[in-house]
């Protein structure tokens, strides 16, 4: 591509047609982005399972730990709260209350911390090949979901077998929509935190502390209604806490066999779909930046 001088002394520059060529690595329209993401669904699942199995394969018991781990946690809670402290804090079936709170909250909490570091953890993949980056936070949620399924099974079985028996009604099946709502909420949370965490790496430290506040604010160890009855304004605000809604719904259907307050359902649904939409759009808008670390 050398220069050619024409009689007027002007340099002519070689021309190439850009017909049929497209800019590389640009953010695509939302529709094709979603389509590409859907095309990668097999990879997301395969990658989550591969990560899971490569982490369990090192252990002698392998997949057994997926069930043993929650079982041992329940045992620990029973030993401390039921056997040594013998506390119930005025809550019916306190062990079940606690177990549901800890496991359901742990699911979201792990998605939160995992999502914050998702871009950083997937840096080598981002530099390696081209794919919709939203696959990273989503695969974090998928991995935690796959971890959560055996936990949920263990929890339901333990609650059904261990002495302070739960009231089993048809409402047990409501746990399925509850888990779905919570998972959607987690996807939105992971996506929005992934972009924030990429912008501000220091957020990882903050998220750990915020998670602890959230833990106490969601009534994992105690009933918010009981504790905050002196502060009606605070209690009212707490009602809109999504985790509190999910925990209340899960406890009502698994433990007490009671109908939940419809307000809880509304709060849970609005949070799930709202954060999913906002978080995903927010993540998608930053698509081009994630390659720079």
């Amino acid at each position: 591509m050398s220069e050619t001088k024409n009689p007027l002394g002007l340099t002519s520059i070689p021309s190439v047609s850009s017909e049929g060529l497209v800019p590389v690595g640009r953010r695509t329209s939302l529709r094709s982005y979603l389509a590409a993401l859907w095309g990668r669904r097999h990879f997301i699942v395969a990658e989550s399972r591969a990560k899971m199995s490569s982490s369990t394969r090192k252990n002698l018991l392998g997949y057994g730990w997926l069930f043993l781990n929650p079982l041992l946690s329940v045992l620990a809670f029973w030993f401390i709260f039921g056997f040594i402290l013998q506390t119930s804090r005025g809550i019916q079936n306190f062990l079940g209350f606690l177990v549901i709170g800890v496991f359901f909250f742990g699911y979201t909490n792990r998605c939160m911390s995992g999502g914050t570091g998702a871009i950083r953890a997937g840096a080598s993949m981002i530099k390696g090949f081209q794919f919709p980056r939203a696959a990273l936070p989503i695969s974090i949620v998928v991995r935690n979901f796959l971890d959560f399924i055996p936990t949920l099974l263990v929890m339901v079985i333990v609650l059904a077998v261990v002495p302070p028996l739960e009231v089993v009604t048809w409402r047990v099946f409501l746990i399925v929509p509850i888990v779905i709502l919570q998972t959607l909420f987690n996807v939105g949370l992971a996506c929005s935190l992934a972009r924030l965490g990429h912008k501000i790496p220091d957020l990882t430290n903050f998220v750990a502390i915020a998670g602890r506040f959230w833990l106490y604010g969601s009534g994992v160890f105690f009933s918010i209604e009981g504790r905050l009855s002196g502060h009606p304004a605070l209690l009212e605000a707490m009602q809109y806490n999504p985790m509190h809604a999910y925990l209340t719904l899960a406890r009502d259907c698994l433990l007490y066999g009671a109908d939940s307050d419809p307000k809880m359902w509304i709060v849970g649904t609005v949070w799930a779909f709202g954060l999913l939409l906002v978080g995903f759009l927010y993540f998608w808008r930053g698509e081009e930046n994630y390659g720079r670390l």
Binding site: S2, P14, E19, V24, S124
Partner: protein, 435 residues
Amino acid sequence: MADSELQEPNIIAENVQVRYTVNTNDPGSRATGIRRLTNKIVGRQGQTTVRALRGVNFVAREGEMVGIVGANGSGKSTFLRNVSGVEQPDRGRILVRYQPLLLGVSAALQPALSGSENVRLGCLAMGLSPEEATEAFDYVVELSALGSAIHRPMGTYSSGMGARLRFAIALAARPKILLIDEALSTGDATFAERSERAMDELLAEAGTVLLVNHAAKVIQELCTRAVWMHRGEILMNGPAEAVAEKYRWWAWNVAKGKEDIADKLLADVVSNAVKEEINILEPELIKNPIPRHAARPSKKKAAPARHVKRQDTVDEVEETPTPMLAAAEEQVWPKSFDAEMPKAKFPSLPKPASQAVSAPRITDSPPLRLNPSKKRVVLRAANPSDRASSVAAADDFTGRRLASRARQIADERYEERQRLRQEDDSPVVHQDSNR
């Protein structure tokens, strides 16, 4: 370069500039005042801006294998990362015909899993569907030549075996544009033969390969063209033999500590270097791009040539043989220079399926895809002798593949390369031919 300009471009890089802001503990660039105090508190020492690419203009065409040589830190890898779309350049833009594939599948692989599980995972990561991954499995095993080692955990592989597996997985995705960053140097002779063959097939399918390698010999043997990058700029661009030879001579002198000779050589090359510029002709298709900000005007964009500025559709131009061009020539340039003029090639060949390329799916899987159930990938003209369309109709993966026409073309290319290795004085494409 008249010969290669007949080919359609696959990659166009226009004035690509990249700079990184990085931490440094160089005392010279220490901050002052308040800045210094805050740096002290957070434990930082100062920041500096590195210009990794300083305005790279580059075109790679169909069927070209371009070698990139240059010292460490000259911006080769950064350029490949930008071409692959992993990073966005700070200035300038990069246009591609197909999604380039950086040989970086290793990021998706898990050392604890066996080779065969990793083949599946890697194929899915490259965007294949599960069925396609199953089909491609035999091909990967054959190309990587791992034998029974494919069932052992990947963590137990030697570095050469790992590199072979990664290369085979990347090729199983059937990329049209492959970017290789010093990956092939670890394979043994058998694998070198197979990988060359695989890349020849890719080139025969109107693909493009960019190869970064320090061994000038590899570049000379494999590539049709070479580019010498130095401090983020392209110093030389020409036939592989010449460029690699000069680079090798320079690198040898630097290595031997003969700085004065090396500097003289470099000064000579720099003085001869032509700052390349490209005039990108924009068809209407690109003016209406899918990502709505894709047409973000780059600041130093060259104005489109006068005679194509107002061209509306491709078809119109094909029927009337560019009357405006003829008029312009008669006004400004004497007729005797007609042959020398760079031909305004733009509306040469309407590509029937080019809408599919500029349809809003850049991040979609690479176009050539062996999925007999849904033939969604015929991007180029449905010419029966064209490999892309003939393969899309094939039923089984490896059988047809071996019998395919691309195999023949690859053979021809291979023989030609052998012939070229013997007789040195036959330049394939020569950039300075008309200077």
